[in-house]
Symmetry: C3
Subunit: 331 residues, 3 copies
């Protein structure tokens, strides 16, 4: 495809020779002649110019270049649009591997691909165009919506419900029993965990993340939400739409997150609190109470980020002055 044709596809403005053929897409470090790459800042533009790339997708304000440019508002998004245009997912033909174990009472849609050693138990419903890869286990009465993709070694406990186009990476566990016990006279009794997990449309869950079933209600992950690897979502948690949760985060029981919340890696939230829409929680934060919508918090415990930074600065200055005064070690 010619540079000029790609530019039309993404409503970009070409600078330089728009007649060059583009044969591939790549990151700056691996770009070869004939490739399109993208650069979101001056540093990366310089890198892209040193590469063999034939064309650079960049934004409208960046400097001119010796190479052909396509200027757009959001280069990364435009790169993605071009990628998706040339890499539409192919529909797999219906296939059930002879070493898969599929219950007679399971209902399997059209164009479903089921790999070796998959186990699908009684009453499960698998929608059209679903892919379930090797060694995954789908327990009783799970519902899996159309276009879901389940990578190897995933487990869904009974009654789990995935809506459409959900991606579960390897090692994900959905619907395990929550951490619910009753103590009485020094003994610990297991409390019934009877709810489900409901995962709405377009959710992606990272490798080895765990999502517990509700105790008496359900655990819900809202549409469009993306959860990274090794996160823990406890029983009865309700997460809104388009939430981003980075790796190693933990959300404790019955806590509610609004829409568009962002959590940095290794952050944690206590149980039974409410995090408003559009809240941003910095990496490593320990959230110990509810947070109003739109707040940006950070720290252990999490506070408005300006306050946490100021406390750190003050402590730093007090420590410096303390040192000058020579009190430390004598006090």
């Amino acid at each position: 495809m010619k540079i000029r044709e790609l530019a039309q596809l993404i409503e970009g403005m070409v600078e330089g020779n728009d007649n060059i053929d583009i044969n591939g897409l790549s990151g700056i470090e691996k770009a070869k002649s004939g490739d399109l790459t993208f650069a979101i800042d001056e540093d990366r533009l310089a890198g892209a110019e040193r590469s063999d790339a034939s064309c650079i997708l960049t934004n409208r304000t960046i400097r001119k270049s010796s190479k052909a440019l396509i200027r757009v508002t959001n280069p990364k998004l435009s790169f993605l649009i071009i990628y998706n245009t040339f890499n539409a997912p192919k529909d797999r033909e219906s296939f059930i591997h002879p070493l898969a174990t599929v219950s007679d009472s399971a209902r399997i849609g059209k164009n479903v691909w089921i790999g070796p050693n998959v186990s699908i138990e009684e009453g499960a419903e698998i929608g059209d165009h679903v892919i379930i890869e090797s060694n995954s286990s789908i327990k009783k009465n799970c519902e899996i919506g159309s276009f879901c993709r389940i990578y190897p070694n995933v487990t869904l406990y009974e009654n789990t419900r995935l809506q459409k186009n959900v991606i579960l990476h390897s090692g994900v566990v959905v619907g395990s029993d929550g951490f619910g016990y009753v103590k009485d006279k020094g003994k610990i009794y297991k409390f019934p965990q009877l709810g489900r997990v409901i995962i709405e449309d377009d959710v992606e869950i990272g490798a080895n993340t765990t999502i517990d079933r509700g105790s008496l209600n359900d655990t819900v992950i809202g549409a469009g939400t993306k959860i990274d690897n090794l996160c823990q979502i406890a029983h009865n948690v309700r997460i809104g739409k388009n939430v981003l949760i980075a790796a190693l985060c933990g959300i404790s029981g019955s806590t509610v997150l609004g829409d568009n919340v962002v959590m940095g890696g290794q952050a944690g939230i206590v149980d039974n609190v409410t995090i408003g829409d559009n809240v941003t929680i910095g990496a490593g934060s320990a959230v110990i109470g509810s947070i109003e919508k739109g707040a940006v918090v950070w720290g252990v415990p999490a506070r408005p980020i300006a306050q946490t930074k100021r406390q750190m600065a003050v402590l730093s200055l007090l420590t410096k002055n303390f040192r000058k005064g020579g009190h430390l070690g004598k006090g």
Copy 2:
């Protein structure tokens, strides 16, 4: 069953019509007519009254209600007792799936259920009434006591020993090699990891938690202990009885925990320390030394909780005063 009959079962006091038939148990949000639910405080009682529940289990001091009440000392425990009365686990018949691989030298007890794609290696001993679900791997010479339940995709390394009634959720790994190396002249050599993991009676381990085998001794998890999802228990750790460990905690090598210890989520403990009986460690704490029995600690690093809270309060006040004085930014 009539309300009056349920009340007798749990030694509760009925207020209101004790002749109503109860057909099911549910949480407040999902309660329908004919259901029993429970309420541990006034707020939840109000919620339960707005629901269609026919009877509310509550404590002895809470206000009167328009609905039939059963008053008990611990409503959650009584709810559990009623639940267990009507939901006794059914014994499964002996079953070994044709796609399970069971070594000829493994010994399999009575009423054992083994799902598809389970692998049981040489010398393993599986007690009576054990359930091992699809895609789990039991390596050589493991011992699994009666009434254990192993969910899908679990791995037990060789020589692991589970006593009775242990529950392992999906993705659990027990007996993996500890993180033990010897450095010499810039190179890192793997040190032998030869011990076992011993898990005593009535332990429950959450999804994707990992427990390493001992290096030269054993790693031991005491009876009645419950560990949540995504925790790491390192080699040679010894955990006492009835300990509760929330998600994403890490316990480093050779550390010893007494009985009844409680760890909040994302807490960590360094290696080679001793945590006394009945210690409580707050969520997100970093424990860097031994802790006396009965202490309640929190923070990074963990200190007695009153001290940590006071330090936070003082830093907050100092920062506020600092701001008033206008020094910050000039200092």
Copy 3:
């Protein structure tokens, strides 16, 4: 083997009867008569003397003992050398379990052992002397070098490359999609994750650890590096040689670690920073910027360890003085 013969093997100096037969190796707590154990300090020497061990491996400066000693520079290393001498890994014969699913287009080396329910997809190349245990999934075009060992329930996504002698413990996921999205007008779009993971020689990866494939470049784990359980290595991360990463650590996207870096447990590093060679990062640290080579850092956020400790000491003193003055609670 006689004590004198063992001493020759490790260039040690015998004290006491060098004619005793040694039949086994063990840790202090389990040592029986005829066993060799080791003691790296006076406390452990006392413990070893109370045991039934017949000989104690120790260092050159420790006190004399009633038992036969072999004195060496590094007792733990010498113990390892003796262990390895008597426990050379045995080569397994070629074996592919009848319930393994191996693509016709996969190339399988000599003396490869493939367990039940393993899935090996199209184009995979498995080197000589590789062991792949039950229920592991190897996706398309993976390359696995000679002497690699893959425990049960591991997943390798397509194009993953393991060099020689790599150990992957159970539940490890290598090559899952990175957490890469583009936001536009409130919606979140998945960005292509097209790179590979390359794991160099002699790397060991702990149970349930996840390593994401590169987005447009590759994720690389350098030779000799050891990663503990439940760690997250994000897309495009490059880790140097002989790095040690303890459990529950997270390294964010595109961050670069030099050689010989050490990370304590539950530490995290933000994205797009560079950690120099020989840096040590204390347990629980939150690293929010690049770190110069050789630095030792700790804290939230991570700072030079002396500075973090001083700040903690100053805050502690200020809090104590504050209390004396009685201001807190009135302020």
